[in-house]
């Protein structure tokens, strides 16, 4: 059973969500402020953190920033509806996905499942499929089994979502992957209009990996179409 930490200052909502998610098969632990969320997330082995942006004291962004310095725990941000700046900031700080609040709990469950699916394969040595469990391209080596990436022999730290995005792009290296395709394969959901999540994950990847040894951009944007991982 997946263990979820829910950080939200609305106690009543937290209790109801615990019950709802419990029926959907998740074990939920609650934190009512940023400090409690951070200490619980670092002390216990959760599978996912659902993090509300608006919390008294240390807010969601502060928690995420501190958390990402030490942990790759998957994070689903709850942002104020219609505030796309919040979601962009959250993704930039390394959230795996975001959800406007309030939204239908069924949508929330779908998002949780998608994120958990991405993280699930972590630590499993064999993914069972016929796909190779190591992809090497130029200075980049990706172990799909242990879900680790080294770039020029230096290990890279990335969230499971970033890993999934890179995974798809690497398998299609040299070909353009459309945003719709990338969203369905890496994020496990359809891309909605003006959803910036993919752009933010890709920009995080670019920042972490840096340019290719010959100075080229690793992941190029093809305007209006999608992304391409370039080979030298």
């Amino acid at each position: 059973m997946a263990r979820i930490l829910l950080a939200d200052d609305d106690i009543e909502l937290g209790d109801m969500l615990t019950e709802y998610l419990g029926k959907e098969g998740f074990e939920v632990d609650l934190a009512h402020d940023g400090d409690m969320a951070l200490s619980k997330a670092l002390a216990n082995p959760y599978d996912l953190l659902i993090l509300d942006v608006m919390m008294p004291g240390r807010n969601g962004f502060d928690v995420l920033r501190e958390l990402r310095a030490r942990s790759l725990l998957p994070v689903l941000m709850l942002t104020a509806r219609g505030d796309d700046v919040d979601s962009i900031v959250g993704l930039e700080l390394g959230a795996d996905d975001y959800l406007a609040k309030p939204s239908n709990p069924r949508v929330m469950v779908a998002r949780i499942r998608a994120i958990l699916r991405r993280a699930e394969t972590q630590g499993e040595p064999h993914n069972g499929g016929g796909q190779p469990d190591q992809i090497t391209l130029d200075d980049l080596v990706m172990h799909t089994g242990s879900r680790t990436v080294t770039c020029g022999n230096a290990p890279m730290s990335m969230t499971s979502t970033e890993f999934s995005v890179l995974d798809v792009l690497l398998r299609e290296a040299g070909n353009v992957v459309s945003k719709a395709n990338l969203s369905e394969r890496a994020l496990g959901r359809k891309l909605s209009r003006y959803d910036r999540s993919l752009d933010m994950h890709v920009s995080n990847l670019r920042r972490k990996l840096g340019p290719l040894p010959d100075g080229q951009e690793r992941i190029k944007t093809v305007r209006g179409v999608g992304y391409i991982y370039s080979r030298t």
């Binding site: 009543e12 909502l13 309030p102 209009r193």
Partner: protein
């Protein structure tokens, strides 16, 4: 305190006095100068010049030419100059003053004395027919009127007087209109929604009616800013606060669904629909209050309008299908606009959805891109429905929040009158315009005018 009144009064008064005084001074000093013949040498030289001219004219053109010459001279010379014949008559038949006649008599007496030597201009001017004229200047008869009637004489002092008074008036005009201009600009800014405008700091150390007006203006602007800010804050806060119970309501609904295991699906669907409506309304309220605060102008990007319209119409068609009508892109060409894509999309979408709501069943909402005939830098996006239109008097008001056309009908179609208000604020945020008009053959058409960067 009427300091401005006194400033205007005194400046005008002073200018008039200075002008009149300068004019009078110039004229009278000139007069005095002539009368006392202070500059006797040059006066003599002038007179002998006239004498030579007269003599030459008399020789060449006879009496008629001389008459013409004298007439011309009289018009430009402030000193009346007579040409008097033997019989004591003026060539131009002007009346000869008594003192001149006396002078002539005196001259005749002097002439009898041999020791008196005549200056050259006192010689008689002889004509070919044998008659002779004497040239006599009449210094005593220079009048102010004569001087004023000959503008060349007083052109310089008049010009100085005009210049000085113009300078004073210019300064006064500037002093009066500069702060008014500043006030006008501030008022325009406030009318356009920028309530942070203040004018007192630009007034310097002024302490008059205009400074008082500026102070009152600033007080008004401050009050407006406070009231509007409070209203906006209330709207924003209330909407935010409504989110928490709404979020709990949604989870409660989810729990109810889990428990009822399908027994009350119809009712729960209804609750879900109403929650969605409430959620959308709150979202729109927040969007509107954010737009009015003007915070979304950032994140501008270049948007291909045709692409945006095509995507938007694809989505709108679903809604149109359920109503038994259509959404059609009638006419489009490539054009790029700089704006926040999401914001512009939602603005146009609101207009299109509004049109779908009102168009009759079986008709189509027609969306077209038009070039602005008046201004090639702009494009117009026209959304036209085949519905009942809007009463003319209501046309300008449909972009205000929560304005309803037909109560019952609106409630039935789930309208809440915020869509067009959001569209209006969003379009105006990018310096665009949105107007509505009734089509002559029925239906409403809404035109969005946007600044275009041309073809990408």
């Amino acid at each position: 305190m009427h300091s401005l009144f006194w400033k205007i009064f005194l400046s005008f008064w002073l200018t008039l006095i200075i002008f009149a005084a300068l004019l009078m001074f110039a004229a009278s000093s000139y007069l005095e100068h002539i009368r006392t013949q202070q500059d006797i040498g040059s006066m003599r030289a002038r007179l002998s010049e006239y004498f030579n001219q007269a003599q030459a004219t008399a020789k060449d053109k006879g009496i008629a030419g001389l008459k013409e010459w004298l007439d011309r001279l009289d018009r430009s010379e402030a000193i009346p100059i007579f040409l008097i014949d033997e019989a004591g008559r003026d060539l131009l038949e002007r009346e000869i003053p008594v003192n001149i006649i006396e002078r002539l008599d005196r001259r005749r007496k002097h002439a009898e004395r041999p020791e008196w030597k005549r200056p050259p201009h006192m010689q008689p001017i002889r004509l070919p027919d044998g008659s002779a004229y004497r040239m006599v200047p009449d210094f005593q008869s220079i009048t102010l009127l004569r001087v004023l009637q000959r503008p060349r004489v007083i052109a310089l002092p008049v010009a100085v007087a005009a210049l000085v008074s113009a300078l004073i008036c210019l300064m006064l005009g500037r002093y009066l209109t500069f702060p008014l201009e500043r006030l006008r600009r501030a008022t325009q800014h406030i009318a356009a929604g920028d309530l942070t405008q203040r004018v007192v700091p630009s007034m310097g150390g002024r302490r008059d009616e205009i400074a008082d007006l500026a102070g009152a203006f600033d007080k008004m602007a401050e009050r407006l800013e406070k009231v509007f800010g409070a209203q906006r804050q209330l709207l924003s806060d209330a909407s935010h606060e409504l989110r928490s119970p709404l979020a709990r309501l949604q989870v409660a609904l989810g729990l109810a669904r889990q428990r009822s295991s399908g027994h009350a699906d119809k009712e729960l669907d209804r609750i879900e629909l109403e929650i969605e409506r409430l959620n959308e309304l709150i979202g729109q309220l927040l969007e509107l209050s954010r737009l009015e605060a003007g915070v979304d102008a950032a994140h501008s990007e270049q948007i291909d309008i045709r692409e945006l319209l095509e995507g938007l119409i694809e989505d709108a068609q679903f809604e149109a299908d359920s109503k038994g009508c259509q959404a059609r892109l009638q006419q489009a060409f490539p054009a790029v606009v700089k704006a926040n894509a999401m914001l512009l999309h939602s603005a146009i979408e609101n207009v299109v959805r509004n049109a779908i709501k009102y168009t009759r069943q079986g008709t189509a909402v027609e969306i077209s891109m038009l070039e602005d005939a008046r201004d090639p830098d702009h494009i117009i996006i026209q959304v036209r429905d085949h519905g009942p239109g809007v009463p003319e008097a209501m046309l300008p008001r449909i972009f205000e929040p929560f304005v309803r056309m037909e109560e019952a009908r609106d409630r039935l179609s789930g309208g809440h009158g915020l869509g067009l208000a959001i569209a209006d604020r969003a379009v105006r945020l990018y310096g665009g315009e949105i107007v509505a008009k009734n089509e002559p053959d029925g239906g409403l058409s809404i035109c969005i005018r946007l600044h275009s960067l041309g073809v990408d």
